[in-house]
């Protein structure tokens, strides 16, 4: 037997093959997410530096950074952020809990469906923000009204997507559950909830964004703290730099929350293989 060279050999034979034109999106671009925002930031900076964007229209990025510093040290920006986050989290928490429970009840029982589904579909077509005047009459202009509004606005996407996810579970799994004689509670735990999870997580992504939308609106009513309160004050004094600070913070909130939901989704949906991977 001869001893052969086991090192990887390069360019021994030419690489000739037939390659089809790619129809899918192709390989991932590294740091793809940041390309768009950075380009936007570059345009904004260039516009401000050349004077094309006047400070009265939109403050220059570096002035926003300065304003951020001032708000932080002199106007308790951290307190405002925490106050807003607290409001959004409370409202979102109630919205998720109620929306999720309603979706499961309405998805699993015909009576539940007839009682719950209609009102929610009707509620969907009424913009929650249009209900604020009514909520002010019911709950006053304090914290309750704000949390109820955020909860209601985030409840709808959770309900719709969880319900849809649940109803899309293949009936053959229910049949399997019947043949192995498991109870209703175990059926919900092992089949309904995991099966509806992809829908629920999609609903979460919409709910998080909706809750921030609700936050922006409710914080304009008689708030004494919060990012919306800060923006409202800045509007009265004509401080566009502070308004932009507020907008950037809302954007960061939204992005972080959405990333968190997607990260959780990748973890808990490890059993799926999709085009995403």
């Amino acid at each position: 037997m001869t001893i052969t060279d086991s090192r990887p050999r390069t360019a021994t034979t030419p690489d000739i093959r037939v390659v089809r034109r790619r129809l899918g999106p192709g390989r991932r671009i590294p740091y793809a997410f940041w390309i768009g925002p950075l380009l936007l930031l570059a345009v904004w900076s260039a516009g401000s530096a050349t004077g094309l964007i006047s400070p009265a229209i939109l403050t220059a990025p570096w002035d926003v950074v300065v304003a951020f510093g001032e708000q932080w040290t002199d106007h308790d920006l951290l307190g405002n952020i925490l106050s807003s986050l607290n409001r959004a989290a409370l409202g979102l928490g109630f919205g998720i809990a109620v929306g999720g429970v309603l979706a499961v009840v309405s998805g699993l029982s015909r009576i539940g469906e007839s009682l719950i589904d209609g009102p929610i579909q009707i509620k969907r077509s009424v913009p929650t923000l249009a209900l604020i005047p009514l909520f002010i009459a019911w709950f006053g202009i304090g914290q309750e009204m704000k949390i109820v509004t955020i909860a209601l606005i985030s409840l709808v996407p959770i309900y719709v997507h969880t319900h849809n996810g649940l109803r899309s579970i293949d009936g053959k799994y229910a049949e399997l559950a019947e043949t192995i004689d498991i109870g209703r509670a175990e059926f919900v735990r092992h089949i309904v909830l995991p099966g509806a999870l992809p829908g629920f997580l999609l609903g979460m992504r919409f709910a998080v964004t909706s809750s921030l939308l609700g936050l922006v609106v409710v914080e304009q009513y008689n708030a004494t703290a919060g990012i919306g309160h800060m923006i409202t004050l800045a509007e009265q004094y004509g401080q566009t730099d502070v308004i932009v600070v507020g907008l950037v913070i809302y954007g960061v909130f939204g992005y972080c929350a959405d990333s968190a939901v997607r990260l959780v989704g990748r973890r808990v949906l490890a059993w799926r293989r999709t085009l995403e991977d």
Binding site: K172, Y173, T179, I180, W271
Partner: protein
Amino acid sequence: MAPDTRGLIAAPAVRVRDLHRSFSADGGVLNGLDLDIAGGEFVALIGRSGTGKSTLLRALAGLDRDVAGHGEIEVPANVSVVFQDSRLLPWRRILDNVVLGLRGPDAAERGRQALAEVGLEGRERAWPFELSGGEQQRASLARSLVREPQLLLADEPFGALDALTRIRMHALLRKLCEAHKPAVLLVTHDVDEAIVLADRVIVLDAGVVHADVRTDRPRAELRSFLLKKLGVREELGVR
């Protein structure tokens, strides 16, 4: 004292009398079918498409609550079904699928043993999508066996597998049935599969038993008899 005859005479595991099932008003799928399966007996059910094989199996499994019909069915308390697709829950790992709904502190241990029996030790933590078609079907067999069924109903369990995997699965199923001794009703449209696996082959036609033979006859003769009963003419070189 009366002699204890338990274990001497196999009690009938399945007793079906005058079973009717129909999906539409103008014709029944099952038309007065009678069937007995003894405890521990392996029965294969063959027949052309639409002769009521799956309808009968689903009736025995209690999965036909919305189908019109009447008749008597007696089955043991502990029945397990193996479907053509493995029906593993994609969101549960293999071991969790096998012990789904089992109670008791030793459930996981029993599940592990069942997986070892079907040759899947070491795959307990795998997701169903990571298994090949044959492995998925073996996991679903483990899920049935871990429940120690008195009656195992299998609806074309190997129908979606390739020919080589199928031969290996035949050997496995025979071994498992000899070890656990459930009564088995296997629906298949493969005559050879029926002959290889079963003690008795039943041919279904027009919703009644058309032929009922034991498989202790010479294989070629049996095969040709069953094919004739199925309405297949053997034309070329069968020796």
